[in-house]
Symmetry: C2
Subunit: 283 residues, 2 copies
């Protein structure tokens, strides 16, 4: 596992697919002037359009940092319900020269036109999820009940500090990580926190990894879509540096997710699932 890159591979993907990709830089140097009028060299995070095509039909244009476009593409398509079975995949090809990601499945997808015809999308802090299917399938989700030690939370937060390179250099990005206890299995940064979640969902899907023994960390706020995506990945613990909304909390209660917000250093707030926390490191 390389720890100097912005994103770490979860494990080697079991699904073989063709991918061509020109690596793109994640940050660029620019000149900015501070309050003394002094010129400083700063780095800004990149933001690139990536148009996703599924069997040659354009689906969405994702504005992304560009770290892991294949994982992002697959994770997006899975989370939006376009593809459910990893074995359906024929190939994923990303070409930054034309800002495109083309996904081909072995057989045509039933109901693709109908799905594309659904026009009502969620938005606001979300990503254009079709609202009709936004809340679908939640009743079928059955998350593991796990105990989490306070000492593991502290150790995880300390370890995760090694991973947010783009944020440290340039800011303006969110980061998400999949952890097993305090072990950071994968970490991704992106302009939008939803992209980062989708990228990790893509990774886990390719690897056919289950979520029941994982913890999901994010720097972003715990809003409704975040909770739903993490639940669909089968992960029962969600840890954020930021805050939580009322709908995020209600969904966590409904789905049985242990929800920990405002987590930094030795501080955190448990909004749901406090009975699952083993306070083994109180002062």
């Amino acid at each position: 596992m390389t720890d100097t890159t912005t994103s770490t591979p979860l494990l080697q993907p079991k699904v073989k697919f063709v991918k061509t990709q020109t690596e793109v830089p994640l940050t660029l140097p620019v000149t900015a002037y501070d309050e003394n009028g002094q010129a400083l060299e700063k780095f800004v995070a990149c933001e690139r359009p990536l148009t996703v095509y599924l069997n040659w039909q354009p689906i969405v244009t994702l504005m992304t940092l560009g770290a892991k476009p294949e994982s992002l593409t697959l994770g997006y398509l899975k989370n939006q319900g376009f593809i459910s079975d990893i074995n359906q995949l024929e190939s994923v090809i990303v070409d930054w020269d034309v800002n495109s990601a083309a996904v081909i499945t072995k057989e045509s997808i039933d109901g693709l036109n109908d799905k594309l015809a659904e026009k009502t999308v969620t938005s606001g802090c979300g990503q254009g999820t079709v609202y009709g299917s936004f809340l679908q399938g939640l009743d079928e989700i059955n998350l593991a009940q796990v105990t989490l030690k306070q000492s593991v939370i502290y150790s995880l937060l300390k370890n995760i500090n090694a991973y947010n390179d783009t944020y440290k250099n340039a800011g303006a990005v969110h980061g998400c990580g999949i952890c097993q206890a305090d072990n950071i299995l994968a970490f991704v940064e992106d302009v939008g926190r939803h992209n980062a979640v989708d990228t990790l969902a893509g990774d886990m899907w390719m690897e056919q990894q289950g979520g029941e023994d994982k913890i999901f960390y994010t720097t972003g706020r715990l809003t409704s879509e975040m909770i739903i995506k993490v639940a669909k990945m089968g992960i029962p613990v969600l840890l954020s540096r930021s805050g939580v909304t009322q709908m995020g909390l209600e969904l966590a209660q409904q789905l049985g997710i242990t929800l920990i917000a405002r987590a930094k250093g030795r501080h955190f707030l448990v909004y749901n699932g406090v009975e699952n926390i083993d306070f083994d490191a109180k002062k």
Copy 2:
């Protein structure tokens, strides 16, 4: 101008339209447990679905805090290019009992079905803007070139601290403001920063206010869509507490927007338009 509410009216709307709205609370009390296992009463920001209907056709479901749903609805429709002329509006009715906002225009809208049929949307940190029209019309934008005093920036930042009630109580929201020098004309908070921008765009549109003598403040990051929306409001100065992406910067350079990021207290970074800053308050 009331300064105890989360959102302040810009000026009285010149367009009369029917609106029925049940005021909804913006925050709710919940119990959370800190790192000592101690129960604390905390407030969480609300997050509600609001489905926007235009002439009875569903357009989008916005996940919103709920402060100013009529302004948000109109600002969204304007920024997405569904309606361009305020005089086209017949009525705007919001009903929280069915989480809906219904907008009726005096005449039917040409090309509405085509627009709804356009399926490729931007996303990532954006809002589902149709990418094809995302960058359209930028060449026609001609922003004023204005000088901005450093002392005014400092005064504005100090004044804006009085407005972010929901953030202070509950966190998890972004805030945006329209200012005239250090005078805060309007301030709105929402779960997503794009909603807050759209809400202010709706306010300005209803009021038929021009943007050339305004400054736009946001707590959110300066990404491509933010720059484009503010430019379409005719505002030439953009000030943020957060950072900027490479595409946001490139668009600001192209459009001639003075871009100031990381603005807090006495610190800021000018990424574009430093020649427009009068450094009258250097230490």
